[in-house]
């Protein structure tokens, strides 16, 4: 409990909230590398996942890649990359991308594959081409699951992005590494609390985004007030 109070004292010390090593700077750095890693993973994995979900081919490949990538210890990979690429952000960024890809891939693939084939079949039968089916039918209907994949990836990356401080003076991980080195456990705990708060915040944002996507894009029928003037669920004679 004492340590916890020390951490709170550390957090409320105005000296820690200014300058290049201050909390706001570190939080922004942490968010920046999280955002960069998830964006890169999305660019790589979203098209692949959507394509696999659409063609229903290569599902085994997804399983293999996701399984293998999940089994890679991120710290080990970072050490390896760090040795190869040296000090800087390149190594942690790549490691975080590897960490994020499986979740994004699985979300995109599962979301698109689970779209009812009766709906995509009908879209094809009335004359949508494959591209239109993907962009106008499958992706909108898969949006909540797809965002779910991004949400899982973001959560993993934001927690693991502390490792960026392993090879660079970057992000909230810095408090963990420097606190460990100087046995300043208050600083360490404060850093950990900041990471946890950030993860929680992003989680809440994504949960809201997912709900919004479900309501507005995938299943607007269940949105309240979809039929503004008259009540939508009233059954009328045909």
């Amino acid at each position: 409990m004492n340590l916890f109070l020390d951490a709170l004292a550390w957090l409320t010390d105005p000296a820690h909230w200014t300058g290049p090593g201050g909390v706001p700077t570190r939080v922004l750095q942490h968010l920046a590398i999280t955002f960069a890693a998830v964006t890169a993973a999305a660019i790589l994995a979203l098209p692949a996942g959507v394509l696999i979900g659409h063609t229903r081919k290569g599902a085994g490949l997804v399983g293999a890649i996701a399984g293998a990538a999940r089994a890679i210890p991120t710290l080990g990979l970072l050490t390896l990359l760090g040795l190869a690429l040296g000090i800087g952000l390149k190594a942690p960024l790549i490691a975080l991308i590897v960490l994020a890809v499986p979740s994004v891939l699985a979300g995109a693939y599962a979301g698109v594959q689970n779209v009812d084939t009766a709906i995509t079949g009908a879209a094809r039968a009335i004359g949508m081409n494959p591209r239109q089916i993907v962009f106008q039918v499958e992706i909108p209907l898969a949006a909540p699951v797809l965002i779910g994949g991004l949400r899982a990836a973001t959560l993993q990356v934001v927690a693991t992005a502390t490792l960026a401080a392993y090879t660079a003076d970057f992000g909230l991980g810095r408090y963990l590494f420097s606190g460990l080195k100087s046995r300043d456990y208050a600083e360490m705990l404060a850093g950990a609390l900041l990471v946890a708060a950030l993860a929680l915040l992003l989680e809440l944002l994504f949960a809201a985004g997912q709900r919004l996507a479900a309501k507005r894009i995938a299943a607007p029928a269940h949105e309240k007030g979809a039929a503004e003037s008259d009540s939508p669920r009233e059954k009328e004679p045909v």
Binding site: G121, A122, R124, A125, I126, G127, M128, I217, A221, V238
Partner: protein
């Protein structure tokens, strides 16, 4: 005019779905393919818009092989109604109806206005255009499905058991609505069903199919009911069923039609 020329379809690893099927569907007529499951009736329907490619044989629309046509353009030129409506759940009713015209390049606004008019045409309140398919009853969804099929003003309508999933009273209403529409629009309709009464009600011509797309009999409803070609057809149309055997009895000077069980079913018009 739609022509099936010795169309066969074998699905890989399965028995023959359709073998050597030939049929001419004249323009502006309703031809009903009727058969139980396994008769290949849906497969045949889907060869017309290239949702299914025949293993051998050809399908011609106005003397042109459908294989010469781009499948996407072909499908946009043919109205298609499915059993469960096949509406896009994330689009409003109006946008669902406007789908094909918009794909073909009609400005969205004009397509929506036309869609709203089509809603009235199929007997729906245009107000429901803002709703989503999930908010409609099964019967309403089917009507929207018909409106969507008509939106691009196609010459041909393909209807794959469109009223199979709605309750009998609703089905009857939808059938009558279709007859009314067809009297105005004169489309070339290929209609698939397993319900012989529906076939007799809607078809100018009825094609009774046995397993594997073999034609058991084709003709007008009266021809088939009056002279079933064989026991299969007799059984299928229920020619021996008591309610098909009508007799006339005279009660108080009026001619009453009575079925085989002695139940009165109607009065002969004077």
């Amino acid at each position: 005019m739609i022509e099936f020329e010795t169309v066969s379809k074998t699905y890989p690893g399965q028995s023959v779905a359709v073998a050597d099927f030939s049929l001419v569907v004249p323009s502006h007529r309703t031809v009903v393919l009727v058969g139980s499951s396994g008769s290949g009736k849906s497969t045949l329907l889907r060869t017309v818009n290239r949702m299914v490619e025949p293993t051998s044989g050809r399908v011609l629309i106005d003397d042109e092989d459908v294989r010469e046509r781009d499948p996407v353009a072909l499908r946009r030129s043919i109205g298609y109604v499915l059993q469960h409506g096949g509406l896009l759940p994330h689009r409003s009713v109006l946008d669902n109806i406007a789908t094909v015209p918009v794909l073909k390049g009609t400005p969205k606004r004009r397509a929506r206005t036309a869609a709203s008019e089509l809603l009235e045409r199929v007997g729906l309140d245009p107000k429901i255009g803002r709703r989503y398919p999930g908010q409609l009853s099964g019967g309403q969804q089917q009507r929207v499905g018909v409106a969507r099929a008509l939106a691009a003003d196609p010459n041909i309508l393909l209807m794959d058991e469109p009223f199979g999933a709605v309750d009998p009273i609703m089905r009857r209403e939808l059938q009558e609505e279709l007859l009314r529409l067809q009297a105005e629009l004169h489309k070339t309709i290929v209609f698939v069903t397993h319900d012989i009464d529906e076939a007799f009600l809607l078809g100018d011509e009825v094609v009774v199919l046995r397993e594997g797309g073999v034609i058991a009999q084709r003709g007008t409803p009266a021809e088939i009911l009056g002279a079933p070609a064989d026991d299969f057809v007799r059984d299928f149309v229920g020619a021996d069923r008591a309610e098909r055997e009508l007799h006339i009895t005279t009660v108080d000077g009026r001619s009453i039609a009575v079925d085989g069980t002695g139940r009165p079913v109607g009065v002969l018009a004077p």
